[in-house]
C-alpha cells in the first residue's frame, strides 16, 4: 500500500518537474542540441545554401587552418584581447571598485557616473568612440595635440586599433565596478582592524586581507571576461566599418578587420565565411573552434573552487 503511494508520488513529482522544465527542454533541443549537431555535420559538408550539401571530408578543416588567410590573424587578435583587454579590465574594474568604496562624499553621484557607460548600446558606444578617436576631427586627438602629445591613429592604425577597443571596454566597466564594490563591502572589518593593529601598511592590508577575501570574485571576473572577449563581435566590426569610411550598399566591399586585419575576431569569421562567401561548411569549422574555446573556459568557471557558480544544496 505505502510503496504504491510512494511510487505514484515519485511519478507525480517527476511529471511536475518535467512540466515546469518543459519550455527550456524544448528550447534546449531545438535551439541548442539540434543546431550543435548540425554544425558538426555541416563542418564536413560542402554547402553553399543552394545546391544540396555534399560530403567533403576534412576539406573545410584544412581550408580554414591552412588556406583561409583570415583565420590565424583572427585567432591572434582574439588571444590579444583575451590577455590584454581582460587583465586591464579586471585591474581597472577593481581599482574603480576600490575607489568608490573610499569615496565618502557624493558617493551616489560618482557611482552613477561610473556606471552609465556600461549601459550605452554597443553600436552607439562604438560609433561614439570611432568619432572621439577619429584622427582627423576627433576631440581626443585635438586635445592631445593641444597639450603636445603625439596623437595616435587609433582605429585607423593597426598598431592602435586593439588598444582603442580596450579603451572602449574600460569605459564600460560599470558592471565589474558593482560586483567588486559588493565584494569589497563584504570583507569583514575586523580583519582590517587586526591587520592595522599588527602595523600592516595599506598595500599589505590590500595584499593580505582584501585580495584573499575577494579572490573568488576576481577569478569570476577573469573567466567571464575571457568568455566575453572571445565573443567580441559588434565593437570590432563597427569600429572597423566606421573607421574605414565604408558606405553601405554603394558597391564598396568592407575589408574585414580594417585596418590590416587588426580588428578581426573569430565570430566575425563565421559571418564572413557563412554570410558573405556562402561557404557554410567552413563557417561551421570556425564556429566549432569558437565552441571548444568557450566551453574550456566555461568548464573552468564551473569547476574552479568547487564552482564559482555553485550548484546549490
Amino acid at each position: 500500500m505505502s510503496t504504491v503511494t510512494l511510487a505514484s508520488k515519485r511519478r507525480r513529482s517527476a511529471l511536475r518537474t518535467l512540466a515546469f522544465m518543459s519550455p527550456w527542454l524544448i528550447g534546449f533541443g531545438v535551439f541548442f542540441a539540434y543546431p550543435m549537431i548540425s554544425t558538426v555535420y555541416f563542418s564536413f559538408m560542402h554547402y553553399d545554401g543552394f545546391k544540396p550539401p555534399t560530403w567533403s571530408g576534412t576539406k573545410n578543416w584544412t581550408y580554414v587552418f591552412e588556406n583561409y588567410p583570415l583565420f590565424w590573424p583572427a585567432l591572434r587578435n582574439t588571444l590579444w584581447l583575451v590577455v590584454v583587454m581582460v587583465s586591464l579590465r579586471v585591474a581597472f574594474g577593481l581599482g574603480v571598485g576600490l575607489l568608490i568604496t573610499k569615496i565618502k562624499t557624493g558617493t551616489g553621484v560618482f557611482r552613477t557616473l561610473f556606471y552609465l557607460p556600461y549601459l550605452a548600446p554597443p553600436v552607439a558606444a562604438t560609433m561614439a568612440f570611432a568619432f572621439l578617436l577619429n584622427p582627423g576631427t576627433g576631440p581626443v586627438n585635438s586635445i592631445l595635440e593641444k597639450v603636445g602629445i603625439p596623437a595616435p591613429g587609433w582605429f585607423n592604425d593597426p598598431a592602435w586599433s586593439k588598444p582603442a577597443l580596450t579603451l572602449l571596454a574600460l569605459w564600460g566597466i560599470g558592471d565589474l565596478m558593482v560586483i567588486f564594490m559588493a565584494a569589497l563591502l563584504d570583507v569583514p572589518k575586523e580583519q582590517y582592524e587586526a591587520a592595522e593593529l599588527d602595523g600592516a601598511s595599506a598595500w599589505q592590508r590590500f595584499r593580505f586581507v582584501t585580495l584573499p577575501n575577494i579572490s573568488p570574485i576576481v577569478m569570476f571576473a577573469v573567466v567571464t571576461g575571457v568568455i566575453a572577449a572571445m565573443q567580441s563581435y559588434t565593437q570590432p566590426l563597427i569600429a572597423g566599418k566606421v573607421a574605414s569610411g565604408v558606405i553601405q550598399g554603394a558597391g564598396t566591399q568592407f575589408e574585414p578587420g580594417y585596418p590590416d586585419k587588426s580588428t578581426l575576431t573569430l565570430p566575425q569569421l563565421v559571418y564572413n565565411l557563412g554570410f558573405q562567401r556562402f561557404d557554410y561548411g567552413s563557417a561551421c569549422v570556425v564556429a566549432l573552434v569558437l565552441f571548444v574555446l568557450s566551453m574550456v573556459f566555461t568548464a573552468f568557471l564551473m569547476r574552479r573552487r568547487g564552482g564559482l557558480i555553485q550548484a546549490g544544496d
Binding site: 511536475r16 518537474t17 522544465m21 519550455p23 527550456w24 528550447g27 534546449f28 535551439f31 541548442f32 539540434y34 550543435m36 548540425s38 545554401g49 573610499k102 569615496i103 565618502k104 562624499t105 557624493g106 560618482f110 557616473l113 549601459l119 550605452a120 548600446p121 554597443p122 553600436v123 552607439a124 558606444a125 560609433m127 561614439a128 568619432f131 572621439l132 577619429n134 576631427t137 576631440p139 585635438s142 569605459w171 560599470g174 558593482v178 560586483i179 559588493a182 565584494a183 573568488p216 568568455i227 563581435y233 566590426l237 566606421v242 553601405q248 563565421v270 559571418y271 557563412g274 557554410y280 564556429a287 565552441f291 568557450s294 573556459f297 566555461t298 564551473m302 557558480i309 550548484a311 546549490g312
Partner: protein, 297 residues
C-alpha cells in the same frame, strides 16, 4: 559638483596634536580619493559630453576640430527623425525588445523555479547546461539556425527568428532568476504546502510576489539585450530595411551620412538616451541584476 567637493564637517574640529596629525592624514586621503574620483568621472562622462556637443554642431563645424558648437543646431535631431526608416527602427526595436522580454520572462520563471527549489535527478546537469548555453557565442549555432529559419520556414527579413525562441526560456534569464529564487527561504514554500497550495499556486501566489525585484532585474536585462543586439538583426533582418532595429539601423545611418558626424552623433544620442532614462527610473533593479550575475550561489 561643488557640493560633492565639500569637506566633511568633522574634519574641521581639532584637539590634541596627535589627533591633529591623524586628522590631517584623513583630510589628505579625502582630498586624494576625491581628486581621483573626479579624474575617473571625467573619463566616464566626457565621451557623452563630446558626443552631445557634436550632435548640436552645424554640418561644416562637425568636420572641424572644434569642441563646442558655435550655433546650437537643435534641428539636427529633427533631421534624424525625418530620415526615412528611423521611426520604423524604433517600432521594430520596441517590438523585438517588448515581445522578447515578456516571452522570455514568462517562459523562464517555471524553469528557474524548478532549478532553484525542486530536488530531482539531473538538476545539477541541467543547471550546467543552462550555464553552458548562456556562455555560448551565438555564432556557434548560427549557420544551422539561419538555414532553419530562412530556408525551411522562410522567415528571413523579419524579426520572428529572434522573438520566437524567447518563448522557450532564455538561458541568461533562467540563470539570473534561479540565483534570485535561491534566496527565498524554503519555509515559505513549506508553509504554502501545509496550507494546501499546489506547486503552481505556490509559485504564482507566494513566490512570484516575493520575486518581483528579481523579475524586474531580468526583464530589464532582457529588454536591453534586444535593444543592444546587433548580430541577430544583422543575420535575419539585414535584407529588409523595414525590419531593421535601432542598433542595426544606426550603423547603416553612419554609412548613408558618412561625413555628417553631427547627424550621426545625434542619432547615437537618440539610441543611448532611452537606456539611460530607464536606468534613472530603475537603478535598483539594475544593480540587483548585476550583483546576481556573479557571486553568490
Amino acid at each position: 559638483m561643488t557640493q560633492v567637493l565639500d569637506k566633511p564637517a568633522e574634519l574641521a574640529v581639532t584637539t590634541s596634536p596627535a589627533e591633529r596629525t591623524a586628522r590631517r592624514k584623513a583630510l589628505l586621503e579625502w582630498v586624494a580619493v576625491h581628486a581621483l574620483g573626479v579624474a575617473a568621472a571625467l573619463f566616464f562622462v566626457l565621451p557623452f559630453v563630446f558626443v552631445f556637443l557634436t550632435s548640436l554642431m552645424s554640418d561644416s563645424q562637425a568636420l572641424s576640430r572644434d569642441l563646442i558648437p558655435h550655433t546650437w543646431e537643435w534641428g539636427n535631431y529633427k533631421k534624424v527623425f525625418d530620415t526615412p526608416g528611423f521611426l520604423t527602427w524604433w517600432k521594430n526595436t520596441l517590438l523585438y525588445a517588448g515581445a522578447g522580454t515578456v516571452l522570455s520572462v514568462v517562459s523562464s520563471i517555471p524553469v528557474a523555479y524548478a532549478l532553484a527549489k525542486f530536488r530531482f535527478r539531473g538538476r545539477n546537469l541541467s543547471l550546467m547546461l543552462v550555464i553552458s548555453m548562456m556562455m555560448l557565442p551565438p555564432q556557434v549555432v548560427i549557420i544551422p539556425m539561419y538555414l532553419f529559419w530562412a530556408k525551411q520556414l522562410d522567415l528571413s527579413g523579419t524579426l520572428w527568428p529572434l522573438i520566437i525562441p524567447m518563448a522557450f526560456g532564455d538561458a541568461f534569464t533562467i540563470f539570473l532568476l534561479r540565483q534570485f529564487l535561491m534566496t527565498i527561504p524554503n519555509e515559505y514554500l513549506d508553509a504554502a504546502k501545509v496550507d494546501g497550495c499546489g506547486d503552481l499556486r505556490t509559485l504564482l501566489k507566494v513566490v512570484l510576489p516575493m520575486a518581483r525585484p528579481g523579475i524586474a532585474a531580468v526583464a530589464l536585462f532582457q529588454f536591453f539585450y534586444a535593444w543592444n543586439d546587433y548580430f541577430g538583426p544583422q543575420i535575419y533582418a539585414s535584407e529588409n530595411p523595414g525590419a531593421w532595429t535601432l542598433s542595426y539601423g544606426l550603423e547603416s545611418f553612419k554609412g548613408a551620412h558618412h561625413t555628417d558626424w553631427n547627424l550621426t552623433m545625434a542619432a547615437t544620442v537618440l539610441v543611448m538616451a532611452p537606456v539611460i532614462l530607464v536606468f534613472f527610473f530603475a537603478q535598483k533593479a539594475f544593480v540587483e541584476g548585476v550583483t546576481l550575475t556573479g557571486v553568490k550561489g
